[in-house]
Structure formats: structure tokens, C-alpha cells
């Protein structure tokens, strides 16, 4: 199977132009960028974003790439942290036509492509769904048939990302399950608690199946899930994690 390799291009700051913005949930939006000479990326990689105020003050953060490699534009999905410095700017201020600096793609460790095989178990907390979504989109776009089981944990229903798209993708070997850690609406058929071992077994995170496991989300979520996985008998080396920090949403 053909393997995508990131090209060796120096990591430089590029000026990206906002082509479009899309509301993704009550607290998140997707920003579509045009990036001249984008070298291409692997699903799971991220970019660094640099904002500069008029007096020269700078803030830098990382954001996972949501779009699959084949897309022409680069999409990021950003969750609003009320008290944050950068996410409110990206979610509430940035408009079509604005320009910001970004560099990437970064991080070949937390990536997946069809040649890596499966089955895939993807475990997402909050905005940790973003890089896993790029993997799922790439699987479908490349016609791969690797079985995928995705578990999405979110605070509440309005915070769930990509809901419609996920319900469309949940077929042909892709299973999607949800858990809400706070209030669930009446008639909710998913789980309504923090991720636990039983849930992980139910979504196929059983070491006997030898799945490739990817965990992404706020540091607390990743710590908790990684501990559960090791408790189920997984080799820690077989679990790939990406921590977004305390404020990863």
C-alpha cells in the first residue's frame, strides 16, 4: 500500500488566509485556511499558530489539522475556552479574509494512514476528536476498509463536534459511540458517565484484538483513559496519546 511521507521542508512560518468559517458546535468553530505552498500532511499532525498584537506581543498555540491530506484547504476546529487567550480570538474574532501565521505540519508520531493497518480504536475527549477525525476522513477518502471504533466523550450534547458528519460516516466498518459526562437529554441512547473500563471493552479496546489505539484530549482525559487501557492489559507502547493541556476543552 502506498505510504504518504511528509516531505522534508523546513518548518517556516507561513501566512494563511481565512477562506471560510463554520460553526461546529455551541462552543467550537472550524476555520478553513488557504495556505500557499502547503507541503501536505498526515492525518493526526498539527500546526503551530502565532498571533501578534500591534505592540509586538506574541502568543503561540498548537491546533490539530482536521482536514484529510487530500483536501485543498487546511481546516482547524477550535473549541472556545472562555478564559483563554488564543481560542476566543480564533472562535469569535477571526473573519473571512483575515490572515494569521502558522507553521507545520508537525508531529509524525501521532499519525495514522491505511498502511499502518488496524483495527483502529480512537478515543476522543472534547476537542481531542479533531486529529482523530482527520484519520477517519482519510480512511474514507482513501477507500481503506480498516475497521474503526470511535468513542467520543463530551460534556454535553451541544458540545459534540461533527455530529451530522459522524452519523453519516458510521457505516461500512466504522462504529461511533458517545458518552456525555454531564447532563444528557431525555431519550439519550449513548452513555452518560466518565469513560470507564466497561465502555472501553464495549468499543473494542480489548488487547486480544491487537488494535491500534489513539487517545486524544485534555491531559486529564488522556491520563485517565491511558491508565484504564494499561489496566485492561494493553502494552503502553501500543497506545498513542496526544495531550492538549489543561485547557484543551
Amino acid at each position: 500500500m502506498e505510504r504518504l511521507a511528509p516531505r522534508k521542508t523546513p518548518l517556516v512560518w507561513r501566512v494563511a488566509t481565512v477562506r471560510d468559517v463554520r460553526t461546529e458546535s455551541a462552543t467550537a468553530r472550524t476555520i478553513v485556511f488557504d495556505v500557499p505552498d502547503w507541503p501536505g500532511h498526515l492525518p493526526g499532525q498539527h500546526v503551530d499558530i502565532r498571533l501578534t498584537a500591534e505592540d509586538g506581543y506574541e502568543a503561540q498555540r498548537s491546533y490539530s489539522i482536521a482536514s484529510p491530506p487530500a483536501d485543498h484547504a487546511l481546516e482547524l476546529t477550535v473549541e472556545l475556552i472562555d478564559t483563554g487567550e488564543v481560542s476566543p480570538y480564533l472562535v469569535e474574532e477571526l473573519q473571512r479574509g483575515d490572515q494569521i501565521e502558522l507553521r507545520g505540519p508537525i508531529g509524525g508520531y501521532f499519525t495514522w494512514q491505511p498502511a499502518d493497518g488496524g483495527p483502529l480504536v480512537l478515543l476522543a475527549g472534547g476537542s481531542g476528536l479533531v486529529p482523530l477525525m482527520a484519520m477517519l476522513r482519510h480512511r474514507d477518502a482513501s477507500g481503506a476498509t480498516v475497521p474503526v471504533s470511535l468513542l467520543v466523550s463530551a460534556r454535553a450534547l451541544p458540545a459534540l463536534l461533527y455530529r451530522d458528519e459522524l452519523s453519516c460516516r458510521a457505516r461500512d466498518g466504522v462504529e461511533v459511540s458517545y458518552t456525555l459526562t454531564r447532563e444528557a437529554p431525555s431519550g439519550w441512547t449513548g452513555w452518560n458517565r466518565r469513560v470507564d473500563a466497561e465502555m472501553l471493552r464495549a468499543v473494542g479496546a480489548d488487547p486480544q484484538r491487537r488494535p491500534l489505539v489513539y487517545v486524544c484530549g485534555p491531559t486529564g482525559f488522556v491520563e485517565h483513559v491511558a491508565e484504564l487501557l494499561v489496566g485492561l492489559g494493553h502494552d503502553p507502547h501500543a497506545i498513542k496519546t496526544e495531550r492538549f493541556g489543561p485547557s484543551g476543552g
Binding site: A5, P6, K8, P10, L11, H46, D48, S62, I81, R103, G104, I106, G107, G108, Y109, F110, G125, G126, S153, R155, T181, R182, R194, V195, G217, P218, T219, G220, F221, V222, E223, H224, P236, H237, K240, T241, E242, R243, F244, G245, P246, S247, G248, G249
Partner: protein, 92 residues
């Protein structure tokens, strides 16, 4: 999961600081292999834990010993590496 929940996150993965290190190595450090000088664990740069203090400290995920220290400054980046690192640069 809410960031205000009990388990306050204090570290990221090596992947989370890969941007700055890519400037240093001009290659993707997250895929470098490392054997730990303390516990012998073999893992990739992206699997290390990263802490942000006066500089960045990357630690072995297995034993917690220091794997790398990075000091990003205005005009230079100072890096110290510990353990045995193997770096595969494919020339294509």
C-alpha cells in the same frame, strides 16, 4: 471531560512541543527512537512527557528521568539530550 475536573493536566506529550524541536533538528524529532539511560525503555520522541518550566523538560514516560532539556531563546535554542537517540533521516 472537563478541564476543571480533578485530574489537572500538567504535562503534554513530546508531540506537543515538536514545532520548536523541528526548528532545531530540521527533522521530525517525534519519530526519533530513544533508549532511556535510566530504565532502558525504548520509545519515540513523541511518546515522551513534556513539562514547561523556565525551559522545556522532556521526560521518559516509563521512569520519569530527564530525556531532553530545551531552552528557547530570542536568537538561539539550547538543547541537551540524554540516553541513546537514533535519528533516521531518509534521503528522498
Amino acid at each position: 471531560m472537563d478541564p476543571t475536573d480533578e485530574h489537572e493536566g500538567e504535562h503534554l506529550d513530546g508531540n506537543g512541543v515538536a514545532g520548536i524541536l523541528q526548528q532545531v533538528f530540521a527533522a521530525d524529532f517525534t519519530t526519533f527512537q530513544r533508549v532511556c539511560q535510566s530504565c532502558g525503555d525504548r520509545n519515540m520522541g513523541g511518546a515522551l512527557r513534556s513539562y514547561l518550566g523556565a525551559g522545556i523538560v522532556l521526560r521518559c514516560a516509563n521512569c520519569g528521568d530527564v530525556a531532553m532539556r530545551v531552552s528557547p531563546r530570542d536568537r538561539e535554542i539550547v538543547v541537551e539530550m540524554r540516553g541513546v537517540w537514533s535519528v533516521a533521516i531518509t534521503s528522498s
